[in-house]
Amino acid sequence: MSTWFVTPAMYRALAVIVFGVGLGLSVGRPDVVLLAAPIAVALLAALAGMRHWPKRRPVSDPHADSEVGDAIVSGSRVRVRTTLTGLDDAELVTVRLPDTTERPTGLTKVIAGADGATGGSKVVDVDVDSRSWGTTRIARPDLLAAGPDGLLATAPVTGRELVELVLPAAPRQRPLPLPPIDGGWAGAHLSRRPGQGNDLVDLRDFVAGDRMRAVHWRAYARLGKLYTRRTLSDADAELTLCLDLRTNLAPRVPPPPIGWVNRMAASLQETIQLLRDRRSERAGGPGTKERLDARERARYGSLDHTARAAAAIAATQIGAGDRVGMLSVTGDRRPIRSGGGNRHLQRIRYELATMRVSPLRLTPAANWHLRPGAIVLLLSPLNDDDIVEAARAVRGRGHQLIVVDTLPRDEIVRAATAPQLDHLRVVNVQRELRIDHLKRHGIPVLHWADGHIETQLAAAIRLTRTRR
């Protein structure tokens, strides 16, 4: 129950009235009395407007709750509804609303109290751009209510935190151009097995029993003899996403300003930036949303890249008809068996949204329980030799393996301080050696931060064929 208290405004009004009337009457100056008259009328009007005054103090208990209507996906805009109740005695309600694109530092709004028609409650809707993923605090609607003219007020009321699970975005890209697959059946990929498909191998003489639609009519027109097309069967692929969650390597985030001078300077800088954004938007350029999105992208760590890469690859390959499974290389999470369809994709995204940095050590590749013939995509920042050995072990067990490097190396270097750069150079050289080692063993390494991994994979496969 919040406590209403009388503010200094009430005591001020009484003091001014008493002083003005007393002084004016004592010295015989009606003008001094009349100076205090409007304040006396306003005080009476304010007290008359209170529902429970002067019989007793306000009894309502203002509080606020926020909610979102649907599942939140990173990168989408979501409507947050804040319901304020117990506003019977409030005339001004100050409520803290979640951050919006228009006001990235958070919005504090003062709204009118409830009238009789709204039954003591109010609803405030705010559209929020969700940029993060995982368990995220969306809003905490703290509020402060005041009576007429601020004569009465409540103590600040802490709102209930709205914490929601934000699923990582799953933008579909071009499907990965996978090498020919040994197994599989009726999918979007090439296989090495003869059968019905679109990939023409050669022509053979027509024999009784061949389907007429397999006849190569152009060869017949040219040679006057029936030939039958021989093709390779199409195949679907089974992909297993192996996530390396042992570390989260992220760019350095500048510390928040300390002291009121620095905070004011930062606030002023942000205001100037907002004005620049507006000017840029008017000129048709990028605005606040684009700037904030870019700032958020520059702060992604390897865990962010892992989640986004896994979600995007899963969405793309499931959309192409493949089956996708997922596991953690530390074995601390239950693996998701291969499957397809939107429900399965939703399951993968939910699992990604709940993942954390794992404190456990790398599990030997033999214990990853990879299905025979599965194509393995290993998502890792490649920051130690253990993961390279694990990759070689997977390859040695006969799996097609693709490594996706999830380290945001450029952003880390860009945000690093001068003393950190020397250390980063050494780490980078070690990583390059590991990547070269993998490539020498025929394992393509794709860099998620560079974008267009399907193009990178096609180039890597071409390179492998050339070497052969």
């Binding site: 003091a15 008259a37 009007a45 979501v78 409507r79 100050t94 559209d127 071009r174």
Partner: protein
């Protein structure tokens, strides 16, 4: 099957809910003034109050002293409207008016009375409104109505007293 780049079906965020019936009401509620604007208005009202109070003074030393004290109180009032400075300012204005001005009921006194009310109400609101907040104009309507009633009543009383005396 959706094309590359399209959001996955059934996983998009909640679309903004349309509310055509309340669009007009929402537009009216969307009109806001910043919290620092109210502080500016409070400062302006205090400044005018100080000027109108000391303008009748004859003794330069007394006027300077009164101005210095009232300006200092004004600054304190704008910086901390929830503190005692606003009460000190209003009482100080009445004291200085008593010392400098004669028992004349003129337009200046009417303006002083209205400005004192404005300072009192603005200080009360500013104490409850953070500087960075956005205040909907709808929330200020009851205060404005009370201001109009009280100012009108005060001016009417002043006119009546002037006529009767």
């Amino acid at each position: 099957m959706s094309r590359p780049g399209e959001p996955v079906r059934g996983t998009a965020g909640a679309p903004p809910a349309a509310d055509p019936a309340g669009a007009e009401r929402a537009a009216a509620a969307a009109r806001t003034v910043p919290g620092w604007g109210l502080r500016g208005a409070l400062g302006l009202a205090c400044g005018l109050l100080v000027v109108l109070t000391v303008v009748t003074g004859q003794d330069l030393a007394a006027v300077s002293m009164a101005t210095a004290v009232l300006v200092a109180t004004t600054v304190y009032t704008v910086a901390a409207p929830g503190g005692p400075a606003a009460a000190l300012l209003l009482i100080g204005v009445m004291g200085v008016h008593l010392a400098f001005g004669g028992p004349v009921l003129d337009v200046r006194v009417a303006l002083l009375a209205v400005l004192m009310l404005a300072v009192h109400q603005l200080a009360g609101i500013c104490a409850a409104v953070p500087v960075r907040a956005q205040v909907t104009l709808q929330a200020l309507r009851p205060v404005a109505i009370r201001f109009a009633i009280a100012a009108g009543a005060g001016v009417l009383a002043l006119v009546l007293v002037a006529v009767l005396s």
